[in-house]
């Protein structure tokens, strides 16, 4: 390892000292106070997590540390890194600090890397931007040697060859490793990681967290971890700063915070985090419920292929999957990205064509799908989309949007439609007056409830919910899930609940199917799949899920290592 760079953070003082930081943004609607008054310190070798929901100012705080705020922002206070105040130093000085004293790991590794350069070049770029030991330029050859070194540090196998690879030749998790390698290249004393695992699957997330922990243990790097995921915090953080609407609500060592949260907001936040095994919908069940009723969806050996480009074979998104959903039953479909779960949901709604096997939806064979013949059945199927912001036409009011299915299928009078919309909005616990509002005037949770109202307005027999809460904050998610559960019991519809989050699926579903690379590897009662998984993949999936409790998470981490190495 090259040691010609002075490693900051070995001294006694804090690596990072934020003192009464205020950040204001100029927007069309006037000034927005994103960060109101934040003070915090990060000591050498410490992992400090900043948690909060969207709009809490955590990302703005992180960006201020590197001086990455847009032109519309004005900041006050002090952000001291090794005695340099990032807010007031010159642009040239700031460039010197970035990379050498502090580096950043971004949320989305696939966009943080430039696709037209090799990863080695991108890592070397940071190294060559800073002067070498003698004050002169670093040669391309030296930079490459150091890039290989950095890749080795983050556990990329065969770094001598891989250094010449392009980003698309790596998997998502490996790309994030490369981004971390680039951040590490100059041995900064501090790494700011902004939601480093949010874009990754849970099994990959566990590996990246492991890597970050190793960095701290082996190289004494301090980490500022920005996240909304309490499980990740419990896994990695030494100290936790909870932010809410631009202010620090609570600051405590991780163990103390999870064991005895002091502030009400922290308590609520922790209570809202779904916890695998608690609050399971299938608790106490021993056999599959609702089997007496009609079978609404029946998939036999279902195969869905996407046509390949010229010369390359078709891609099998769903490969020989069989399952049934009966009347009144909630079927949970779990899987990581690329497992085919969304494709199945869309095929049932007629948005994707099936290519093989058999899929019967309300008795209609989807293999011979024709929009004209399927249309009458559409009123029996409701669909809740992932992103509530995008699934409403921005030009129509909530009332118009919710009434849309009713107007198409029942052609009611304006007064009837209005009355029905009012009823539905009230049953999803929104005031009926919200019918006159526009989608952008509602919060994320309110929009998703309106979306549920729209799906239910025709009293469908089957509801397909595709990741309905993954775009929501955790406290809002808890509310929406609770509502979903209540409404399902009240209306009695069957549901296909699709999610990547095991804990969320377990909260709602009676019967759970686990998808892996287009195949259904395991299905069974929720409590059995979660409590006693049979398939290796399910076991790995459950073991990799971080829980919001540092002590329990430490035990699970050991278990995960055991699963990985067995």
């Amino acid at each position: 390892m090259t040691t010609n760079i002075d490693t900051p953070g070995t001294g006694a003082g804090p690596v990072l000292d934020i003192d009464r930081l205020k950040v204001t943004f100029a927007t069309d609607a006037g000034d927005v106070y994103a960060v109101k008054d934040v003070s915090l310190e990060v000591n050498p070798g410490e992992v400090v997590a900043i948690v909060g929901e969207s709009g809490s100012g955590k990302t703005v705080t992180a960006k201020t540390i590197l001086g990455l705020l847009p032109e519309t922002a004005t900041s006050q206070g002090a952000v001291l890194i090794n005695g340099n105040n990032v807010i007031s130093v010159s642009e040239a000085k700031l460039r010197e600090i970035r990379g050498r004293d502090v580096a950043m790991v971004f949320q989305e590794p696939s966009t943080a890397l430039n696709p037209v350069y090799t990863v080695g070049w991108q890592i070397a770029e940071g190294i060559r931007a800073h002067a070498g030991s003698g004050g002169g330029k670093v040669s391309a050859k030296d930079a490459k040697v150091r890039a290989i070194e950095a890749l080795r540090k983050v556990g990329i196998p065969d770094p001598e060859t891989r250094v010449n690879y392009y980003p698309h030749q790596f998997s998502g998790g490996q790309k994030q490793r490369v981004v971390i390698a680039a951040a590490l290249a100059l041995n900064p004393g501090l790494i700011v990681a902004d939601e480093p695992t949010t874009a990754l699957d849970v099994t990959v997330q566990a590996e990246i967290l492991e890597l970050l922990r190793d960095l701290r243990d082996n190289y004494g790097t301090s980490i500022v971890l920005i996240t909304h995921n309490m499980g990740v915090v419990a896994d990695l953080a030494d100290r936790v700063v909870v932010m809410y609407q631009g202010d620090v609500v609570e600051e405590a060592p991780a163990r103390a915070l999870f064991a005895q949260p002091k502030e009400d907001y922290t308590k609520k936040l922790l209570a809202a985090v779904p916890h695998l095994g608690r609050n399971s919908a299938s608790a106490g069940m021993v056999e599959r419920a609702h089997q007496g009723g009609k079978v609404l969806v029946e998939a036999k050996n279902l195969t869905i292929e996407y046509p390949g480009r010229l010369g390359s074979p078709a891609f099998k998104a769903v490969d020989g999957v069989s399952f049934t959903v009966s009347e009144g039953e909630v079927f949970g479909l779990v899987g990581e990205s690329g497992s085919g779960k969304t494709t199945i949901g869309r095929a049932i709604a007629g948005l994707n064509r099936t290519t093989g096997g058999s899929l019967k939806v309300l008795g209609y064979e989807m293999l011979n799908y024709k929009e004209r013949t399927f249309k009458p059945l559409r009123k029996e199927i409701g669909f809740v989309f992932q992103d509530p912001a995008a699934s409403f036409n921005p030009q129509l009011t909530i009332g118009d949007c919710v009434a849309e299915p009713l107007i198409i299928h029942a052609n009611p009078s304006a007064a009837e439609a209005r009355k029905r919309v009012g009823e539905l909005l009230e049953s999803v616990q929104l005031p009926a007056s919200y019918a006159d509002r526009f989608p952008h005037e509602l919060s994320g949770g309110q929009r998703q409830r309106a979306s549920l109202a729209r799906a239910l307005i025709l009293n469908p027999k089957l509801l397909i919910a595709d990741e309905p809460t993954s775009a929501l904050d955790v406290s809002v998610q808890a509310v929406v899930l609770e509502l979903f559960k209540e409404i399902q019991q009240e209306f009695g519809f069957a549901a296909l609940f699709i999610s990547h989050d095991l804990a969320v699926v377990d909260m709602l579903s009676h019967w759970v199917g686990v998808l892996y690379k287009g195949k259904m590897v395991e299905q069974g009662l929720g409590n059995q799949v979660m409590g006693n998984p049979q398939h290796d993949y399910t076991r790995k999936l459950i073991a990799s899920l971080p829980v919001p409790d540092p002590d329990e998470q430490a035990r699970r981490r050991e278990a995960f290592r055991a699963v990985l190495h067995s």
Partner: protein
């Protein structure tokens, strides 16, 4: 403004109209450009509307009570911008020319906007062979120099000569042949993008017909860029009209006043020191096109939040109460937690 957004009400219609809302969001240089453009455009529109009141003589008038107008007179009290070789009053013809230009813009843009938008929607939404055919045709039209195409159309429609309306319609059709593919392209691209939006899919899942999806969900969302294309096309229409007139395919001087035609007649004057016959119609073209282009470019910049300039935020001023609309979401989300969690 902050108040209205927070209370969840829509802003009054007046403030949501394209140009007015743009004016309200602009600052600094961008506002300066927009205002200059608006002033020039407004001057053009007023001139066109009140041409009969402003112009001292008719566009084809060659004599008055005092007798026949002298030819090629320099500016004088009787003819403030002088007269042309044919004895027309330059000032009057420039003023009347605004009216002709305005009518041509309106007719050309209206003709192309309806056809272009409708074809764009159908082509983008249905795709397939219809889309491919229309795109090939649009590309083929693009491949022609637009002025050449306009000349061909003008000959086909009116055999090169005609009356006021005949000439205007010929010019407008010639111009709209060039414009339809532009509207078609823009709307088609937007439609293809919007087709994949979850709210369009959600309409499909609900069972809405194609006509309903296009009319209710795509159309309104796809037409937001139209004011921009409209202003830019309007300036292009003036240039094409002037070009046609200059080449002699425009409207006869006895049917209407037309800047391009007057410029053509001023070619010979330029070398003999008679500047007023060319400068005034030329300036009219430049200012009108400049005005419309400035409005269009400003709208373009103001539509894009990344290009739009803003007043700098005042640090430390105000308190939590003065927080703007961006706070609406967390504020309304907070009571949810209060209400629902134990």
């Amino acid at each position: 403004m902050t108040k209205t957004t927070v209370s969840g009400r829509k802003q009054p219609l007046m403030y949501r109209l394209p140009v007015i809302s743009h004016f309200r969001t602009s600052v600094g240089l961008q506002r300066g450009m927009l205002v200059t453009g608006l002033v020039l455009t407004l001057a053009f529109l007023l001139t066109a509307a009140f041409a009969p009141l402003i112009a001292p003589y008719g566009f084809a008038q060659l004599s008055d009570a005092a007798g026949t107008f002298p030819a090629q007179q320099p500016p004088s009290p009787a003819h403030i911008w002088g007269t042309t070789v044919g004895g027309y009053d330059v000032f009057s013809r420039v003023i009347w020319g605004a009216q002709t230009a305005f009518v041509v813009i309106v007719v050309a843009v209206v003709m192309s906007i309806f056809l272009g938008v409708a074809l764009g929607l159908l082509s983008g939404y249905f795709g397939g062979w219809l889309d491919r055919t229309l795109v090939v045709i649009a590309d083929a039209i693009y491949a022609f120099p637009s002025l050449l195409l306009a000349i061909v159309m003008s000959i086909v429609i009116s055999h090169g000569q005609s009356s006021f309306w005949g000439g205007i319609v010929a010019c407008s059709i010639a111009i709209s042949v060039v414009f339809v593919p532009q509207y078609f392209r823009v709307i088609r691209a937007e439609t293809i993008r919007l087709k994949a939006e979850p709210y369009v899919e959600s309409a499909k899942v609900v069972g809405a017909s194609s006509a309903r999806i296009m009319g209710r969900h795509i159309f309104k969302n796809a037409t937001r860029t139209l004011p921009l294309i409209f202003t830019l096309n309007a300036s292009e229409a003036i240039l094409t009209l002037a070009g046609l007139g200059f080449l002699g395919f425009g409207i006869e001087p006895s049917s209407a006043a037309e800047w391009g035609f007057d410029l053509n007649k001023a070619i010979a004057d330029a070398s003999s020191g008679i500047w007023w016959t060319g400068v005034y119609p030329g300036t009219a073209i430049v200012l009108t096109v400049l005005g419309l282009t400035l409005v269009g470019e400003s709208i373009n910049d103001l539509n894009d939040p990344r290009l739009r300039g803003r007043k700098k935020a005042v640090a430390g001023k105000g308190g939590p109460d003065s927080t703007g609309a961006a706070r609406t979401a967390p504020d309304t989300a907070a009571p949810e937690i209060e209400a629902r969690l134990p």
